[in-house]
């Protein structure tokens, strides 16, 4: 919202030498954050001059050498504008003046001294959309009576400040000069000025029949204008039919003005429009915009002679067509509100008028529409078709008092600036709620919510400054506030409390330390432990996107679940929720690879998603990806299956699952892994993870992945950490080597050793695996280091031999292992 300070001054007194930044910051603290605050014409000083002599430049076919009287002296200025000529008054930038395009310097142009510049409008830094060809092509000519040597911008009425505010969604009332005036009046404790809505009224023959006039302040008008209008018009209506055939229009007013004279608007109006970001067109169209800016109520002007005798508000029919003001044909649906002439749509309510009935240079008579349409409907239509200044205001909600005020204000201005004669009578349809919302609140509630000790009189003073009526009968603590209809954002106690906080000043409220019973907070320790562990093992933690492509979503995941798809994705590569975290890690690997990063070891704790029948499931996972060299101190090891298996085991051991997990080869292993170098991770016989090399057909480089479902893992309880009596008797270490078929997993042999060893077996480790010379083809030699001890006695050689024999025997029977001597 661009606020012109000149415009604001029409409705509230603002200091002549306002510190604009200070003002903008005060407003910011009240909730209207400012983006910028600067002069409308951001130039220090421009002076009115008169060309007293204008000669052609001796060495140029288009330049002029002018002598310009600027009051104190006469300057020579070289100028290229085609309209430069003796006798005209111009805008002069003296040497040293900073213009938007740069500083003006004394110079010599093709041998002729030039001591400044005569400016076109374009050179003043005005937004491109406001410029006409005239503004660009030649220097600006001021009226003949412009005083030489005076400030040109001031003379033109363009001395103004513009503050760009970023309004919050609930403060639709601030999309108007009046709304801003109320806000400013609350800051500076000043009264909002009167608005002139008076105008004469005429009959069809152009004879004056009366005068419309309410001589009172704005608050009174806002509240009573509907009744006042009834009184003044005595129920007289316009002679056309008004039909409202939809719930989505609560208020519709129409007036007719006759014999408008269409011309350019006066400078003052044009300046205020431009400073507010609106391009002046002609006096009539400008007035509809001007009144919208003043009151917040969008108006629509129809060329009365292009209408039939009927105005109807209804929902559009499906596929109904309408050509809007911008000459575009729009296709409508039953969700769009339209204005119709009984046959066809002639306007898109709240969004844009139709081309057919628009105001042209030949327009004589005008129907003014001032109405309230449903905000949600207008928002949907405008999102679909076009967002406009008008639609923005309808969306945020309007005040009925302003709807009446705006139509009379438009009549007032049309009479003043377009010689219009206002026809007596007003067509109206008004189903607005006449009740005012009354909110009961107590001083203690306000202080309880804010954490303050504000006295009742100070609270009442805030309501007074805001222009809210209140009653304080009843209990000393009680206040009843009658909320003005312009403040549609206020409906409950808490809204009033916010107003107190705003005007009383948040800075005046002291922050307090929260006082609640002492308690220890909690957080997810296990996830943090996992992340710390993996980082300490040398892996880099990543943070990846959850949305991937359809194909990526299923990679490294069980394939029996459905993908979770986004209804309207931003792009196909971000259209589905991943079913594995590994798929994201693999993407990160590819990204790094493309950047020539080597030796990638990464991990992430994150969620993956799937659809199981009608249920959406999300699960926490931990995943690792490793490739290239893994650095174990001085030694560097090329990452292979056993390196990443080591990471998995370190992690599971750390979490307390030592001895309870195994690596199982079965048909559940995702097809995206190398079938010979992958396994399922099983804990307590729950398959809850995968590990292995990415399938060589997907990735040539050896890339290893590991992913564990934390949701499933952490459900498995781990035993409490507990001290176990140290054996007083020495342990015995025995080595045992066997010859087995190549395909017998070491894990199987170890299981057998464990069972056979029974209580005496403390530990068994593989310390050598060998194939090659001396070993029959298809077999391998595998050697274990076995530790035996008894809690109660020293083991005798004989006891040891018995156990070792039993182990060897079982290995032979169950695994076909032959003892190597």
């Amino acid at each position: 919202m661009l606020l012109s300070i000149n415009f604001l001054r029409d409705y509230v007194d603002v200091d002549k030498d306002i510190d604009i930044i200070d003002f903008a910051e005060k407003m910011t603290k009240l909730g209207s954050e400012y983006d910028s605050a600067q002069k409308f014409i951001n130039v220090d000083k421009l002076i009115i001059g008169k060309i007293v002599e204008c000669n052609e430049h001796p060495d140029s076919d288009h330049l002029h050498v002018c002598q310009v009287d600027v009051g104190a002296k006469t300057l020579q200025i070289v100028c290229g504008a085609p309209n430069a000529r003796k006798g005209i008054k111009v805008i002069v930038a003296l040497a040293g003046t900073q213009l938007p395009d740069g500083e003006i310097k004394k110079s010599v142009i093709r041998g002729q001294e030039s001591n400044g510049m005569m400016c076109s409008i374009a050179e003043l830094g005005l937004d491109n959309k406001f410029l006409t060809d005239k503004d660009r092509d030649g220097i600006h000519e001021l009226p003949a009576d412009a005083p030489i040597g005076e400030d040109a911008i001031k003379y033109m009425g363009w001395e103004d400040y513009v503050v760009d505010f970023d309004l919050t969604a609930n403060r639709g009332d601030l999309l108007s000069i009046l709304g801003m005036a109320y806000e400013v009046s609350a800051i500076y404790d000043k009264k909002v000025k009167k608005i002139d809505i008076s105008h004469k009224e005429y009959n069809e023959n152009g004879e004056q029949t009366g005068e419309y006039k309410i001589d009172n302040d704005i608050e009174y008008i806002e509240k009573n204008i509907a009744d006042e209008t009834d009184k003044q018009e005595k129920g007289k209506e316009l002679d056309f039919d008004l039909k409202i055939n939809t719930e989505n229009c609560k208020l519709f007013l129409a007036r007719k003005v006759m014999n408008v004279r269409i011309e350019e608007s006066p400078e003052e109006i044009k300046e205020k429009l431009m400073a507010s970001g609106i391009r002046p067109i002609n006096n009539v169209v400008d007035i509809s915009n001007y009144v919208m800016l003043e009151t917040g109520q969008p108006l629509h002007f129809y060329d009365a002679d292009k209408l039939s005798g009927l105005l109807e508000v209804r929902m559009a029919e499906d596929n109904e067509k309408l050509t809007t003001l911008d000459s575009q044909e729009r296709t409508l649906t039953t969700e769009d509100i339209v204005i119709s002439d009984g046959n066809k749509a002639i306007g898109l309510a709240g969004v844009m008028g139709g081309l057919e009935t628009e105001i042209t240079d030949d327009t004589k008579n005008v129907i003014i529409e001032s109405a309230i349409f449903d905000g949600v409907k207008v928002r949907r239509t405008s999102n679909k078709i076009l967002r406009s200044e008008a639609s923005n205001r309808f969306e945020k909600g309007l005040c009925p008092g302003r709807t009446y005020m705006a139509i009379e204000r438009a009549c007032n201005l049309l009479e003043k600036y377009a010689d219009a004669k206002v026809l007596e009578g007003i067509s109206k349809y008004d189903k607005t709620d006449k009740e005012y919302s009354r909110i009961d609140i107590t001083v203690s509630k306000i202080n309880k919510v804010l954490g303050t000790i504000v006295e009742k009189k100070d609270i009442l003073d805030v309501f007074r400054k805001l222009g809210f009526e209140y009653e304080t009968e009843g209990n000393e603590d009680d206040i009843t506030v009658i909320v003005p209809k312009r403040r549609i954002d206020i409906s409950i106690k808490e809204d009033l409390i916010e107003e107190i906080g705003r005007i009383y000043g948040v800075d005046n409220i002291e922050g307090r330390k929260l006082e609640l019973p002492v308690k220890k907070g909690s957080y997810d320790k296990i996830k943090r432990e996992i992340r710390n562990k993996l980082a300490s093992l040398g892996l880099n933690e990543t943070l990846s996107y959850v949305l991937v492509s359809e194909e990526e979503a299923k990679m490294f995941a069980k394939n029996d679940y459905e993908n979770v798809k986004i209804l309207s994705p931003l792009s196909v590569d971000k259209s589905v929720l991943r079913q594995s975290v590994s798929t994201s890690l693999y993407k990160i690997y590819q990204y790094n690879k493309a950047r020539k990063n080597q030796d990638i070891s990464i991990f992430e704790v994150g969620k993956s998603f799937y659809k199981d029948m009608d249920n959406y499931v999300e699960e926490n996972k931990v995943a690792c990806l490793m490739t290239g060299d893994y650095n174990l101190g001085l030694e560097t090891k090329k990452v292979d299956f056993y390196v990443i298996k080591g990471i998995a085991e370190e992690l599971l051991d750390d979490l307390g699952y030592e001895g309870r997990y195994s690596f199982v080869v079965n048909d559940k292993i995702p097809k995206d892994l190398h079938p010979g170098k992958s396994a399922m991770i099983s804990v307590n016989n729950n398959m809850l993870g995968i590990i292995g090399r990415v399938h060589p057909s997907i990735c040539e480089e050896e890339v290893y992945l590991m992913e564990i479902n934390l949701e499933k893992l952490l459900k498995l309880k781990t035993g409490k950490m507990k001290y176990k009596e140290l054996s007083k008797y020495p342990a015995v270490k025995k080595d045992l080597a066997v010859l087995v078929e190549n395909n017998v997993p070491a894990q199987e042999l170890q299981k057998v050793i464990k069972n056979a060893g029974g209580k005496l077996l403390q530990n068994s480790k593989v310390f050598d695996v060998y194939t090659g010379i001396g070993i029959p083809l298809g077999k391998k030699s595998i050697a274990f280091s076995i530790e035996l001890s008894d809690q109660n006695k020293t083991l005798t050689d004989e006891e040891i031999n018995v156990v070792m024999a039993k182990i060897a025997d079982n290995l032979s029977k169950k695994c076909g292992a032959m003892l190597r001597k």
Binding site: E510, G521, Y523, E541, T542, V564, L567, R595, G633, L634
Partner: protein, 344 residues
């Protein structure tokens, strides 16, 4: 007689003195103190001494003998020490050669910021909660006072999966779950850090980003409590000199609502590029829990009150580590990740 002892003593001391190494010293010891040594021989002449002089003689010989023993021991110790030193010197290594340290991994900067915030709030008695990222419309909007058709629903264009399911647009979605779950109505203090999703992707917005949300509900929770808590939070994250500015604002789930700016930590409020010359950086949204939110989730707003606030973690992480481009946070270039590899 005395002279004889003295002569032997002097000679012996000279021999010890002249012994160049441990072997020579041992030879000298044998020659002097051995069974056939000179001192032993001297003792043997005792019997030739008149009886009354024997004690005196014995005393003198013993003195000489003790001195010799002591001198040999000293010398021996010296030579042994020299030997050890020589050996140690021969074992000298180059301490500047590389160690066998294990390569350090790293933790993502965003998660580091989350941990820091978690630790602060846990110390103040808050529970860290996690909620579903795949949320229902009910919890993400409906129960937060954002009914169907509310313009704020358009503002945060969302990733819908069905008409009822979507990726959560805000961590606030957990609020209703906590309120509904707290049957005993004891005090609630929680923070919810986590991923959130919105349907936008450009240079300054990532479709996936991170927020942290805080909710405190009890009897008599006020704006002053919110202000005090945010002061602690922001000073902890951004430095003791950080100042806060509360601007009244609008959120459907709080009333009153505020946007909270912090004084620019780059220029200390003087105005720079980071704060767009304003001296302030917009960082948080906050407010008093809307009575409708309390009501819809089983609380009587006349009896209970609360505050909530939320902030984007991506920006906080960027400020904290001086990261200039938000995309770095999600690209996961290992050269970037590896930089976050130590205590901070």
């Amino acid at each position: 007689m005395d002279n004889r002892i003295e002569e032997i003593r002097k000679k012996a001391l000279k021999q010890i003195e002249e012994a160049k190494n441990l072997q020579n010293l041992e030879l000298a010891r044998i020659k002097l103190l051995g069974r056939k040594g000179e001192i032993t021989a001297l003792m043997k002449t005792m019997k030739d001494i008149p009886k009354e002089k024997r004690p005196e003689f014995g005393e003198l010989v013993n003195q000489a003998k003790n001195q010799i023993i002591s001198d040999i021991a000293k010398k021996e110790e010296k030579y042994k020490q020299e030997l050890i030193n020589k050996k140690l010197e021969s074992e000298r290594i180059d301490v500047t050669l590389p160690s066998s340290k294990v390569k350090r991994g790293s933790k993502h900067p965003l998660n580091r910021v989350i941990e820091e915030i978690e630790d602060l709030f846990v110390s103040m008695g808050y529970d860290v909660m996690e909620g579903p990222e795949l949320e229902t419309d009910e919890y993400n909007f409906e129960r937060l006072n954002l009914p169907q058709g509310h313009p704020a629903r358009d503002m945060q264009d969302s990733f819908y999966i069905t008409t009822e399911h979507l990726l959560r647009t805000q961590t606030s979605a957990v609020q209703a779950r906590t309120l509904l779950g707290n049957k005993e109505k004891g005090p609630i203090r929680e923070i919810v850090p986590g991923k959130t999703y919105r349907r936008e992707d450009d240079a300054t917005h990532s479709h996936q980003f991170n927020q942290v949300e805080a909710l405190v509900v009890d009897k008599d929770i006020s704006f002053a409590d919110l202000k005090g808590t945010l002061e602690i939070f922001m000073k902890h994250m951004l430095g003791e000199n950080t100042e806060l500015r509360f601007r009244p604002s609008y959120f459907p789930f709080t009333e009153p609502s505020y946007e909270v700016d912090v004084s620019c930590f780059k220029c200390n409020g003087k105005g720079c590029n980071l704060c767009k010359k304003t001296g302030w950086i917009e960082l948080l949204g906050a407010g008093i829990v809307h009575p409708n939110v309390l009501k819809m989730n089983g609380y009587d707003p006349d009896e209970y009150s609360g505050f909530a606030f939320g902030t984007g973690l991506d920006r906080l992480a960027m400020f904290k580590y001086g990261i200039t481009d938000i995309r770095l946070l999600y690209e996961n270039d290992v050269r970037f990740l590896s930089q976050f590899d130590r205590m901070d």
